[in-house]
Point group: C2
Chain length 349, copies 2
């Protein structure tokens, strides 16, 4: 049997688990998967296409004979092992922030800049979840009318912070419903000093703060947008907020286009035909995207498109997608599909 | 004993209950309270300042000898009974949308436009909850630097839709935690055709849709802002979203000021000294407002003030307040306090 040998690093995590599911649905040939995680998880068994696969501890040697390595085990693991994988001939698709802004590393959303994969030097970065879905929705509009400006406020799901954060949210919610005392030990950021409850709350902090008052999550949206759209001049502002949703990031997005002539119906037409987008925009029938309805789906859902009441080139919209799928696992597997489709990947043996 | 006779219409509702609590804390003299509701609730007993008061059915005659009537029982009840109350000499403070945009009716946030109460012709309107907290935070900035533009995305609590909506959210949450089937019968709007779950979700619809794709809630924020700030030219855009929070509306607000010279520290200084505002803005110590922390408090909390990275006069901030208190009951009682303080109200007997 020929096909690729694919490693998943972080195979027991929220994204890694979904990567395995998405690989089961991939259209390129897979000879075998190597499920890698920390020593703690080694020996656990996970089903892949109905067969048991055993989790192995990630070591440099794990990447021998691997063709594609999908990483989603945190930035420090990527920094440590991605070069080892590349050294052994694998192409790394990295879902952490470790290499995203590296000028040598393409940052890819296949619907937007698939051709960028051609320039890879071993590592391709998967953008931040909240950036990806915004790019899928806005790039088709940008192609037609140009984009001068984006202001986004996010409503981000807890699964973006990992399985343990979801577990804690559910425990908090249960205790609040019981009117019992609850505790918070993870969010807004495991690496920060203070922790606040997310159940029945909204936390205006995702990741750590930078010195100018923006969070790293907000800067990711700003900087990654400019890199993916290859446009340093585009004005981007972001406010990133965590809300008590399991999976499915929602975004309230304001844009100003450059060209004249855009209208709500023109934008709807563009998005109706855009790759990876499902237009759900019929307010009179209460049709619009929601996180619960988008969870488990691979597409990006767009609705509530309306014209700003003061700015002729200004439009508002509501963009929703499953942060673990298009925001992470599915986009990574799509990058692998692009590599395959463009003939950029060799089977190692 | 001298003092005002005060009627609360909708005394058993989410806001009415809080109005009674806020009246207990009011500084003006109260001779008696009349707790009014629908026939269904008549006979129920509620404590006011430790004494039992019986709920009575609302009739035109209920307003005989009433000095101040606080209404929060829906627009149609206000339309029906507010004129009856005025006819009998009461000043009506109406917390529904029935009269807000009536040019004869002042729309008042005491920290912003207290003097407007002087022009009342019997009815004073209490603005929409999401508008009030934004006005409290932005008016002090507008006074200093002018305001050209506001773009707001809201994260609104379920109690704004009433006690039954909160009950349904909690039931949905419990069933989702148990992985049992759940149903939705109230939100996004009791008056609309379809209903969606709010637990572990975000609904980009509050109130019904208008023909141009905005919801009435969004138009309330837009139109009420212009009226309260007495500025038809100010550009206002709103996206109103319900999230699974019990009480406490959060808002991601972008503003562009008119004058030069504004800075984050200048805005912080203004808000540190602004009436009704508590500045909670120290990202390096993770100090910012959250809905859970603001619930039960009368102030408006502001944090995450930061400069836009592209627009020199653009700033972002996060504004949070208890939608039932400053957003409704407390603002109404404050209006009554303003009437008393300005000597605009006569004791009827």
């Amino acid at each position: 049997m020929t096909g690729y040998t694919i490693a998943v690093v972080g195979a027991t995590g929220a994204v890694g688990t979904k990567m395995i599911q998405m690989l089961e649905q991939a259209t390129f040939p897979i000879k075998s998967v190597k499920l890698l995680a920390s020593k703690r998880s080694a020996g656990k068994k996970i089903l892949f296409k109905g067969k048991e696969a055993e989790i192995q501890e990630t070591t440099a040697e794990s990447f021998e004979n691997v063709d594609i390595a999908l990483f989603s085990a945190g930035g420090s693991i990527s920094k440590q092992f991605a070069p080892e994988a590349v050294k052994r001939g694998a192409v790394v698709i990295d879902n952490t922030s470790a290499y995203r802004m590296d000028s040598e590393v393409p940052l890819v959303v296949p619907e937007v800049n698939e051709e960028a994969v051609r320039s890879h030097k071993g590592i391709i970065a998967n953008p931040n979840c909240s950036t990806i879905q915004m790019m899928v929705a806005l790039e088709p509009i940008r192609k037609q009318y140009g984009l001068d400006r984006i202001i986004v406020s996010t409503y981000q799901a807890v699964s973006g912070a990992g399985i343990s954060a979801v577990k804690e949210m559910k425990e908090q919610a249960q205790k609040m419903l019981n009117e019992e005392p609850y505790e918070a030990t993870i969010l807004p950021s495991g690496g920060d000093k203070k922790h606040f409850p997310i159940a029945f709350n909204a936390l205006p902090q995702i990741d750590l703060f930078t010195e100018d008052g923006y969070t790293f999550e907000e800067l990711k949206m700003i900087n990654e947008t400019k890199k993916i759209m290859s446009d340093d001049k585009i004005k981007v502002s972001a406010t990133c907020v965590r809300i008590p949703v399991v999976s499915g990031h929602s975004e309230s997005v304001y844009i100003e286009v450059k060209e004249d002539g855009a209208s709500v119906s023109a934008l709807q037409d563009i998005l109706r035909n855009a790759p990876g987008v499902v237009l759900q925009d019929d307010p009179s029938n209460q049709i619009y995207p929601t996180a619960l309805a988008a969870a488990g789906k691979k597409e990006t859902f767009v609705g509530r498109i309306r014209k700003d009441r003061d700015e002729d080139k200004g439009f508002h919209m509501w963009i929703v997608s499953d942060n673990l799928l298009k925001g992470a696992a599915w986009n990574s597997v799509q990058i692998a599909e692009s590599l395959h489709k463009l003939g950029l990947i060799k089977v190692s043996n």
